[in-house]
Symmetry: C2
Subunit: 210 residues, 2 copies
Amino acid sequence: MAEPIRLSKRDAARRENEARILAAAEKVFAEAGFGGATMQLIADMAGLPKANLHYYFATKEELYRKVVQQIFEIWLHAADSFDNAPGPVEGIGAYIDAKMDISRKHPFGSKVWASEVMHGAPVIQDYLETTLREWTDNRAKLIQRWVDEGKMAPIDPKHLLYMLWATTQHYADFGHQIETLNAGKPLTDRQWKAAKESVKTIILRGIGAI
Amino acid sequence: MAEPIRLSKRDAARRENEARILAAAEKVFAEAGFGGATMQLIADMAGLPKANLHYYFATKEELYRKVVQQIFEIWLHAADSFDNAPGPVEGIGAYIDAKMDISRKHPFGSKVWASEVMHGAPVIQDYLETTLREWTDNRAKLIQRWVDEGKMAPIDPKHLLYMLWATTQHYADFGHQIETLNAGKPLTDRQWKAAKESVKTIILRGIGAI
DNA sequence: TCATTTTCTGACCGTATGGTCAGGGTTGAG
DNA sequence: CTCAACCCTGACCATACGGTCAGAAAATGA
């Protein structure tokens, strides 16, 4: 908050260009995959000459890595809704809401993440083994505590987490399929709300929390 | 069944080579994506010269299309478990079993499918709009009937289907992540069984069928 | 203003890829 | 046995891609 609001032209331009490039890269990587994406396409989408991309990001891999990291951050933040909840109804309910919102707001990021993991996580394997594993263990313990306290049925926490991830991210990763099955139209606000309610209802009742 | 068991050398070789190429292609497309896969890599994995691939499959696109179609067939067959079931417990339970088995047995195929849909279904859009839409509408009607008959809670059938697809396919598409969170080891027979039970328990209770 | 640093970009390069093709080998029906 | 149809493959080609670089342009601080 004590940061200077005034940025030099250079810093402002740098910031804007990097953001522009990252946004374009996220979209292109999501739609074409790492192998199918080209620096030229990203450059065009960002409205910059290709050589300029290489000024900001030395290699395609480096740019890709930044995109994936960016998504991972957003992902982790959704966990905030999980913690400090008195029980599964509030905690898991809020987590589903948060993840569904992310799926709607950042569908490209979700796809890049999915693609990365499907290909064996070549660039974020270390994150999986450290941050994600830790995150998962902690939430699993929390869920186990809820089970022990009789707040929900005895469920294997890991499989519950997988189901939460799978179901919420499906609305981003398979959004095209869902749209096709929805008469070719994107889900409306009302439909997104219904989706969230469906997911929450089935899972919360499924784990015996309601 | 009245087919001749005797095949000419040519037919046998053709059949074997095509199968070998398709298997190699499925794996390579799954691990590298369409753009990242190379004909040379597929050829090496199939143990054939690259030029020979182009004798059997004129273009990379044609080979890819065959791989996707092959998966789609397997996918549809899982629906058999769904039909002719007296109620959701048997029908959906069997469907989950079948889809989980496919995820374990054909993880590459599942990934290729996921990748195809994530990229906007460039080669199987027509399947989505015809076969899949029809399939989905029919199952949705069946589920709605079960709801009307009071055999399960009032759930939007579409969202239930999405949850079934998402959850079961997650074990294939995100298998690497699951393996990493499982101390780097693939799920054992016992763990797969537990996964199936978890999924079935949560969903069947979640829809009020048990 | 001027020197210095940072930013920008058109033109270029080496490589890898999908695809082709001529020509040699193999198979099987008559 | 013969020969036409089919199968196979090393060598080759055009293209497209990631990345480089010299030097112009712009911003900054003194």
